[in-house]
Amino acid sequence: VVGSENYQIVPWKKFEISYDKLIKAHYKKDKKAREAFDDLLGDFLKELCLDPRPDRTQQQPSPGNSYAEDFEFRKMRWRRLPGLRGAARFGRLLYIVCDSKRLIYPFWIYTHEEFGEPKNQPPSKDLAREILLIQEDTDSKANDADMPDVSVVSIEGEQQ
C-alpha cells in the first residue's frame, strides 16, 4: 500500500525564508517572470511527489551520521530561471527525501548569484553570512510557526 502512495511536501520555514529572499532579490518588479518561476518550482515539486529522484537531480553527500540513513539529500539545478540573467539564472533547490514516511522536505532555494564573484569576494564568507541571516530569521519566527526547533548552527568555527 505504501508503495502506491504519492510523496507529500513538507514546507519548512527555512525553505520559505529562502524563497521569500529569492523573490525579493530577483522578482519584485516583474510579475510575469515571478509567476513563471512559481509555475516552474510548483511543477517540479509536484513531479517530486510522484518521483522524488528524477534523473536530472543529484544526490548530495550526507554528513556522517548513522541516523541519516532514512534521509537522502538531493539537489536540483536549473540553468535558466525565468527572467533572470548572469549567475542569477542558475537556480538551485536542496531537498531531503524520507522514504519511510514518504515525505519530501525542500529546505533551501537560491541562485548562484548568492555566492558572489570569485574575483572580489571569498564565497564561503558570503554564503556563511547568507545562512546566518536565514538562521536568525528562522529563530525569530520559530515561536509562531508550525515547525521543528532550529538547532545550533556552526559555520567556520562560529557559534550562533
Partner: protein, 161 residues
C-alpha cells in the same frame, strides 16, 4: 592530471564563436571540448590544480556575464542577422550545441564552487539534525496544494518590499 585543461580553449575564441565568426567544424570542436571539461569538473573537481580552478571560476563568470552588446535595438538587429546568417550557412545546429555545452560547463563549475564551500555542508548537517529531531513537524502539502502555497508566499514577499 589536468594541467592542460584549458589549452586550446580560450575565451576570445569563444567570444568570436558566439558572434558567428568561426567555421562549423570549430563550433563542434569547441562544443566537444566544453563538454569534456564540464564532465571533468563534475566528476573530478578535486583533481584540478588550485590555479586551474580559479581560471575555471573566472571562465564560468565570463561565460554567463550578460552581454552589454545587446542593450540597444541596433545590437539586437545585428544579433538576429548573425543568427540568420548562421542558419543560411547551415551552422545553427553546431552553434546551439556550443551554446548548450558552454552553459553546462558554467553550471557544473558553479555547482563545484557551491559544493567546495564548507558552509554548504554546515547547512546540510544542520538540516539533517532538524529532520531527525522532528521528522513529522510541519504541515504536509498534497500536490494540488503546492502551487497555491507558492503563490501566497510569493505575493507576501512582494507586498513586503
Amino acid at each position: 592530471v589536468s594541467t592542460a585543461v584549458l589549452n586550446g580553449f580560450n575565451f576570445q575564441e569563444i567570444q568570436q564563436a558566439r558572434k558567428g565568426a568561426v567555421s562549423s567544424c570549430r563550433y563542434l570542436l569547441l562544443a566537444q571540448r566544453a563538454e569534456s571539461i564540464a564532465n571533468r569538473v563534475s566528476k573530478h573537481w578535486d583533481e584540478f590544480l588550485p590555479e586551474e580552478r580559479e581560471k575555471l571560476k573566472e571562465l564560468a563568470h565570463d561565460l554567463v556575464e550578460p552581454s552589454k552588446d545587446l542593450n540597444s535595438i541596433p545590437a539586437w538587429i545585428s544579433a538576429i542577422l548573425r543568427l540568420l546568417i548562421l542558419r543560411a550557412r547551415g551552422q545553427s545546429e553546431a552553434f546551439y550545441a556550443l551554446c548548450d555545452a558552454l552553459d553546462r560547463l558554467a553550471d557544473n563549475i558553479f555547482d563545484a564552487i557551491e559544493r567546495e564551500d564548507p558552509a554548504y555542508y554546515s547547512v546540510i548537517a544542520d538540516t539533517l539534525e532538524e529532520a531527525i529531531s522532528s521528522p513529522d513537524a510541519g504541515q504536509k502539502l498534497e500536490p494540488e496544494e503546492i502551487r497555491g502555497w507558492l503563490g501566497k508566499l510569493s505575493d507576501r514577499a512582494v507586498e513586503e518590499v
